[in-house]
């Protein structure tokens, strides 16, 4: 994410504009993905994070290129917030040769190692040890970087979380555990499936933890910054729970019949982008300004989609030759 460096007094507003712009980008990308999926232009399983943009964006704002993240099946926002190139992203989702993963991974596996994005992951919980191992590398190699592990509330069902909290704690690894708590794991409400909370779990392993309104992008960015500073200062792993809202279903096309329509309707009030926009307006940013941002992003997204549509299909022989590194 491009980092503006304004003078003291409008620091916060400038930052909020950046954060807002990033959220609008994620929203736009995913809205279009939903459409492209419905029109059968994009295949596979697509998990949209619409309503959760503030979490990805706020965390992303606290991280630099040398920091690493591991992500989940719902990883578009994390990838874009970390700075993934829009062109490579869309080419990948279309399964094209020049996709960021050469069309072999798709939505569930977007990754960009040059910017420390170690991959979305199709296996619930599997990103946690990967982030942990990345943090281990930072530690062993004496880097000042940290590693953030995104996981959903549903992933609290997997024991690997327990193992990672323990290992990060005893080795004092530079890990930021980020729980995106949207209240759902697929079609099951997490309060029926879980007898614990991220804060209770973290406490059990002496991992300092905080909870934040995950739809308030400034609050997320602030707290992520504070915790990241502590981690970089050598204070070991920390956890941040972001309470957020999964507006659409589990996957693109999910009619959400299992959900109370009133609950879905109520989500609009919590929209992280509208909230940021209200703040920006109060800070004196004009409606026209916001519309201009939105238009700029729309154009960029449409250009990326057009490029992706026209990209060459991934080629089988190249894929077959890429099973092993070093061509073996």
């Amino acid at each position: 994410m491009a980092k503006a460096k304004p003078t003291a007094c409008d620091n916060r507003t400038a930052r909020l504009r950046d954060l807002h712009e990033r959220m609008v980008l994620i929203r736009r990308v995913e809205t279009r993905l939903g459409e492209l999926f419905a029109e059968d232009e994009i295949p596979g399983f697509i998990h949209l994070s619409i309503g959760q943009e503030a979490t990805a964006t706020g965390i992303g704002a606290a991280l630099g290129t040398d920091d690493t993240i591991s992500s989940t099946h719902r990883g578009h926002g994390h990838a874009l917030a970390k700075g993934m190139d829009l062109g490579g992203f869309f080419l990948e989702l279309f399964g094209k040769a020049d996709g960021i993963c050469a069309g072999r991974g798709g939505s569930m596996h977007v990754a960009d190692f040059d910017i420390g994005m170690l991959g979305a992951n199709g296996i619930v919980g599997a990103g946690l040890p990967i982030a942990l191992g990345s943090a281990l590398a930072h530690q062993v190699k004496g880097r000042k970087s940290l590693s953030a592990a995104f996981f959903g509330d549903g992933a609290m069902g997997e024991g690997v979380l327990h193992e990672c909290l323990n290992l990060a704690s005893i080795w004092s690894l530079p890990v930021l555990f980020v729980c995106e708590n949207n209240g759902w794991g697929e079609f099951s409400p997490s309060d029926k499936m879980l007898a614990t909370t991220p804060l209770k779990l973290a406490a059990a392993f002496d991992v300092p933890a905080k909870s934040v309104d995950g739809n308030d992008v400034e609050a997320v960015a602030d707290l992520a910054g504070t915790l990241s500073d502590a981690i970089r200062a050598g204070k070991g792993p920390h956890l941040l729970e972001c309470k957020t809202t999964r507006v659409l279903g589990h996957f693109a096309g999910d009619p959400q019949k299992y959900r109370d329509p009133a609950e879905i309707e109520a989500l609009a009030k919590k929209d992280p982008i509208l909230r940021a926009e209200r703040k920006l307006r109060r800070a004196g940013i004009s409606a026209g300004d916001l519309a201009a941002t939105s238009e700029r992003i729309d154009n960029a997204v449409e250009a990326a989609i057009m490029q992706a549509r026209n990209g060459a299909n991934a080629d089988f022989a190249s894929a077959a030759a890429a099973v092993y590194a070093g061509g073996a």
Binding site: G95, R104, G105, S188, F316
Partner: protein
């Protein structure tokens, strides 16, 4: 003879088994209230209640391990692992516990449980949601492994699997779920390990299972146009598999192609070919040719996946090689 979708046949088998035996319980992620990610368990919660049809947290290792404990304590659990790729999280429970309990505890108790899990591609679900890993389980003494290809067989094998006193890995090719087929008015059990002749023929034998049966049939159609008559044997059971049926077909055709969707190398087809290269060697008039996925992860992109999954053309080419 009505029509029924593959997934409905499984649903009916589960329902019938639960009617017949109060010890049968269902466990899995999103299988109860939501009716299953693919809808296979729809309606069963309403019919059998919360005690017997249970939504679980995302804890594969534990729900399979708990199924072992439950089976050893009087229940007959049928547990769903949402994608076969996720069996990787539950392997200890399957391999070290379920498979070995009867043997290593001196035959004290059976372990009547079924693990239902979908494998296979066709949905562009990518490398972690498409794997066909049945060869792993077939290599583990104590497990049975089945993989039906028709609605009637899915029903019959599921009933047999639930009644079997051993742990059965029940593999469902997810591309078959929506397919509608003839379904008998009075469906019956299918013996685990009994193959069926899907098509009679005399020039070569194609041994296969699961969704690849359709590919074999397409290939046989093409070969038929050339006057070649292929016999298709649908194994249905992979562990145990029907050695006698393969040998019997081979005694007619003397030529063998083995086909599956799984990766060819070290796949289930290797055992069939290897076994026939031993006990069936004298019947063979040609090399045994296998057709499976190439040695690469299941790729995401449309064109990539289409080329990855074995198709009729590859089977025809294999047939031509054994007919040379």
């Amino acid at each position: 003879m009505a029509e029924m979708r593959f997934m409905q046949a499984i649903n009916r088998a589960l329902g019938d088994a639960m009617e017949a035996d109060a010890d049968v319980v269902l466990l899995g992620e999103d299988i109860a209230a939501p009716g299953g990610p693919f809808g296979v368990t729809r309606g069963l919660l309403d019919r059998f209640g919360e005690s017997r049809v249970r939504d679980t947290p995302i804890s594969e290792a534990t729900i399979v391990g708990a199924s072992v404990g439950a089976a050893l304590s009087g229940l007959k659990p049928v547990v769903e692992i949402m994608f076969m790729d996720f069996m990787t999280v539950a392997m200890d429970a399957v391999v070290n516990q379920a498979a070995k309990a009867h043997f290593m505890f001196g035959s004290q108790r059976p372990v009547p449980m079924v693990i239902r899990t979908p494998h296979g591609g066709g949905l562009n679900a990518g490398p972690q949601h498409s794997q066909c890993l049945e060869a792993w389980f077939a290599h583990v003494p104590g497990l049975k492994v089945v993989c039906p290809s028709t609605a009637a067989d899915a029903y019959g094998l599921m009933r047999a699997a639930i009644e079997d006193p051993n742990p059965v890995v029940f593999v469902e090719n997810k591309s078959l779920y929506p397919i509608k087929e003839d379904f008998p008015d009075e469906p019956s059990h299918v013996a685990i390990g009994a193959a069926t002749i899907a098509r009679k023929g005399g020039d070569l034998t194609i041994v296969t299972y699961g969704a690849a049966r359709k590919t074999a049939t397409d290939a046989a159609d093409i070969l038929a146009d050339d006057g070649v008559s292929a016999e298709i044997l649908d194994l249905r059971g992979i562990q145990p598999w029907d050695e006698a049926a393969v040998l019997a077909s081979l005694a007619k055709t003397h030529r063998l192609v083995v086909l599956h969707e799984a990766v060819e190398a070290f796949g289930a087809g290797a055992e069939i070919a290897a076994r026939i290269a031993d006990i069936g060697f004298d019947e063979l008039d040609a090399p045994i040719v296998r057709v499976g996925a190439p040695f690469m992860p299941s790729p995401f992109g449309r064109g990539l996946e289409a080329e990855y999954i074995p198709n009729a053309e590859r089977v025809v080419a294999a047939a031509r090689r054994v007919l040379e």
